[in-house]
């Protein structure tokens, strides 16, 4: 039986998406019956870009090399999937957009106290792009598969559907809460708790207990492992469809809307706390124009205010 050639490429990301392919475990055998993996940075030693039917590209556009690799993948593959939250939204590298290129280079190379040399590299390391952006800012993308990494079930489902010539199941409107088993109930909690504070009740919704959890504003691409194991959702699969489609709905206002109905905490206090910790709560999606260019998304202002507050507190 002839197999379908595929290429995988890895731009600026952590490698987790490639590991997710390995996490298919024995199911990968079913996939390998139908595909031939050509270029794949973690599995093969193919340096060029052979012609392929399907290309999976993970990672954000952070460096000039990322741009080059993305363009080569588009040229060599008939169908391109933006694979994982970094390729779809820019991912956590997107936090770099709050700083200038020079600030990043200064912090990493010039002023880094833990390295012996204090000069930025001039060769072999690719230069930074002016800003971090998602894959579709450079090439046309045919399908988007968000998740950090996308759960193997979704990767498998998407690959199998494409191999069988059917359309993959498109994203549903369900959020991480849909698979979380915690009871969401009203409480008289009147202040936000830090994640490090106390031990959360394992059967009760984090929001009901005053912990900030992003489950209700995050697309289910994971099977909810974090809240099921005692960790509030950090929003790694990106925002739900209603936050993405509507400029006036936003991560912080949607969480505040629900949390203020469940607890005694005022809506404004929740919005302010999420703004104060915006680099954490918007970390996966801030590089995409869908979130970063919302008229109400003012991360530079929020981080400046937070720094001023911090400095004021520590000068007295």
């Amino acid at each position: 039986m002839s197999t379908i050639p595929i290429n995988l490429e890895w731009l600026s990301d952590c490698s987790g998406c490639h590991v997710a392919i390995v996490d298919l475990h024995e199911k990968i055998l079913a996939v390998l019956e139908s595909v031939t993996i050509q270029r794949c940075p973690v599995l093969t030693d193919v340096k060029d870009y052979p012609k392929a039917k399907l290309g999976l590209v993970s990672g954000a556009i952070r460096t000039e090399h990322d741009r080059h690799a993305a363009i080569e993948m588009r040229k060599s593959c008939d169908l391109i999937i933006a694979w994982g939250s970094c390729a779809v939204y820019g991912g956590i590298a997107g936090a770099g957009n709050v700083h200038s290129r020079q600030e990043i280079i200064d912090a990493v190379y010039t002023g880094n106290k833990t390295t012996g040399t204090h000069t930025p590299p001039t060769r072999e390391v690719s230069a930074l792009e002016p800003s971090v952006s998602p894959l579709d800012s450079v090439i046309d993308v045919d399908l988007y598969l968000p998740g950090c990494a996308p759960h193997p079930a979704f990767v498998f489902d998407a690959l199998l559907a494409l191999l069988e010539g059917r359309s993959p199941r498109t994203a549903t409107g369900e959020s991480v809460c849909a698979r979380c088993r915690r009871k969401m109930e009203k409480s008289d909690v009147d202040r936000i708790r830090k994640n490090s504070e106390g031990v959360p009740d394992p059967d009760r919704c984090f929001l009901s207990q005053g912990y900030l959890c992003m489950g209700s504003v995050t697309l289910d691409r994971c099977m909810s492992p974090c809240p099921l194991n005692g960790i509030p959702c950090s929003g790694c699969a990106g925002a739900t469809m209603q936050v993405l489609t509507e400029p006036n709905r936003d991560i912080r206002t949607e969480i505040a809307e629900r949390m203020s109905r469940l607890t005694e905490i005022p809506r404004e206090a929740i919005v302010r706390e999420i703004e104060r910790t915006a680099k954490t709560h918007y970390s996966y999606t801030m590089a995409t124009p869908m979130i970063g260019e919302k008229p109400t998304f003012l991360i530079q202002k929020w981080t400046d205010e937070e720094r001023d507050d911090y400095e004021q507190d520590h000068n007295h």
Partner: protein, 83 residues
């Protein structure tokens, strides 16, 4: 006639739909901790419940779709490509 489907596995029992519905369509089953569509005929398809539902457990069918003029068109163009 508007159909409202509740995905029972996804319902977290928060009662927000019960609280927000302007026409009191929903009741709450305390034993199962699930919302129940009790007065479907009263639904005016404002979709307030679907927007507020934390887990996206509510789906409406057979209603007149009003397109929001303020949608993010750049995202809407690629929405169908999200898998």
């Amino acid at each position: 006639m508007v159909e409202i489907n509740v995905h029972e596995e996804a319902c977290r029992g928060c009662k927000m739909c019960v609280d927000i519905c302007p026409t009191k369509v929903f009741a709450f089953d305390e034993e199962k901790r699930l919302c129940v569509v009790e007065h479907r005929d009263d639904c005016i398809a404002c979709l307030s419940c679907a927007y507020l539902c934390p887990s996206g457990a509510l789906r409406h069918e057979d209603y007149h779709i009003v397109k929001n003029f303020y949608r993010d068109l750049a995202f809407c163009a690629k929405m169908e490509k999200f898998i």
